[in-house]
Symmetry: C2
Subunit: 290 residues, 2 copies
DNA sequence: TTTCTAAATCGGTTTTATCGATTGATTTTA
DNA sequence: TAAAATCAATCGATAAAACCGATTTAGAAA
């Protein structure tokens, strides 16, 4: 049993397709096939069912994969730890961000990069769901999103700040002088909202439903910059957290009145994983900057 | 980085001598030297200091070893788990026992072996300290001893039963009719005790000191069967938990009066390690039999 | 039936883990 | 202080095994 074989196995488990897994691992299909077989021989139990030309995990494979993953993780955690000793001279930080919080990241990124220019960053935008999936698959070190309804035990949560839900309008509309606006007022306006995969949309739809309101949603769109373009025309309005349009010219945010009309920005990471020094430092910076 | 290399590294760390480590691993010294070097190259940091012909761990090596060990452990835990699926047909159980509790183990062992004859056992007798050291080095699955003063967070503790401290005498002495005996009475008798490494002795010495008693200890000995031989002559008495001499002919145990004159038998195992099914089953048996 | 697709297998090549022998450096012993 | 012993590093050679491309086998799809 070698880490190489465990990694091969985990990739095959993930894709449930030897040909694709082999290609993702940059090895030939025959090599993968042989290495899996060798692992199975050593463990004396099949890890995959070969039903025709399709493969599925066996119960043994399923149980074993947990330990295989942990073994691989521990080794790579140790590796990361040693990189850290090199005093933030090397290393890569992968951060997932929901679009609403991009300014939070960029602000911290600018400060951090000037102090530690050698650290590489990978910034992944996506919906909370997508990001959490990637976090669970060890593709991200940390994600930055608004609070989730369901909190999970293997996550570590850190609060960042709270931001009100707001009606976002062009600076040329008539409400720009208002300090706040009620949900029912909002529901009578022509709305363009992020599509239903976005947690902000889920959040606001729940609020509408609670108050028995039927908002006039004429557009759903899954790209925020495009959405903002539309809002700037003045023909539609949208609902976002106030932070989302920080630094956006030509747009104005009016907080929506009512309790529970705020959202809390959160850092979510894996509880058991080793947190690289570069990540720790970056997050500390992120929390002081914001 | 491969598990093979991590295992080599851990053995070298343990023995701090490449030649001996290589021999313990059944590989040549040159192979070990090369593999360690290769690992160091990959990690970009030396794991050992080479001071002359002597080696010591570097800070990096020390930090890394924790993760290396965990990686190796997780892989072997996964392996054990799969063996378990084979329905207790294979596997080895390593149990550490303090001498006082040997009857507890043998009783369960007899029942277990007749039901699962293919499971191998390794029974290690030793002092609590020795056994705990072995448990920490993954040489034992579980140990059976009396409660320790200091409980550690990475151990899992399960209580078995409570047994009184007792004066042990030959059946031919004059006290055999007594139901209990006080500590001061005991202190006036000629005593032969287990040597000070034994937790029972530490326990009873503390009790003597508390009561300002000066017992007449004429013999200290680190082998219980020999001690019992001496007691059978009738010339000395000793102090042990009552269970220790269960099944011993020609010996009689009189509980010592006073509160706190009992000890609790415990099962101690590592909290984070995977517990093999064979171990779980054996322990369950052990707890019902006693 | 034929075609297509994916895993398994086969034979050959490259890589690498391993060994024994030797070297170089340091500690121990005489 | 010189000689002997010890231990890690290095070298060259060999055996093991990881890997590849081509082919086979066997379901699935057309």
């Amino acid at each position: 049993m070698e880490l190489r074989q465990l990694k091969y196995f985990l990739k095959a488990k993930e894709l449930l397709n030897f040909t694709e897994a082999a290609s993702a691992l940059y090895i030939s299909q025959s090599t993968l096939s042989q290495q899996i077989k060798q692992l199975e021989d050593e463990l004396q139990v099949p890890l995959f069912n070969r039903i025709g030309k399709r493969i599925t995990l066996t119960e043994a494979g399923d149980l074993f994969s947990v330990y295989a993953q942990q073994s691989v993780n521990k080794a790579s955690d140790g590796f990361e730890l040693l990189k850290d000793l090199n005093n933030l001279e090397t290393g890569k930080v992968a951060i997932g961000v929901t679009y609403a919080l991009r300014h939070v990241v960029t602000k911290a990124l600018i400060v951090f990069s000037s102090e530690f220019p050698k650290i590489q960053f990978e910034i992944v935008f996506g919906t909370s769901q997508e990001l959490i999936h990637k976090l669970n698959h060890f593709e991200l070190d940390v994600i930055l999103t608004f609070e989730e309804i369901a909190s999970e035990a293997h996550f570590k949560y850190r609060e960042l700040f709270t931001s009100p839900m707001a009606l976002v309008t062009s600076t040329e509309t008539s409400f720009t002088n208002k300090n706040s606006i009620s949900l029912s007022e909002v529901s009578s306006l022509p709305l363009a909202l992020p599509s239903s995969g976005f947690s902000t949309t889920q959040f606001i739809n729940k609020a509408f439903k609670n108050d028995n309101l039927n908002p006039k949603v004429t557009i759903e769109i899954n790209d925020i910059p495009t959405l903002l373009e539309l809002i700037k025309t003045g023909k539609w309005h949208t609902i976002l957290t106030k932070t989302t349009i920080e630094n956006e010219k030509d747009l104005h945010a009016i907080p929506i009145s009512g309790k529970n009309m705020t959202r809390t920005a959160m850092l979510i990471s894996l509880k058991e994983a080793y947190e690289k020094k570069a990540v720790t430092t970056f997050l500390k910076m992120l929390m002081t900057v914001n």
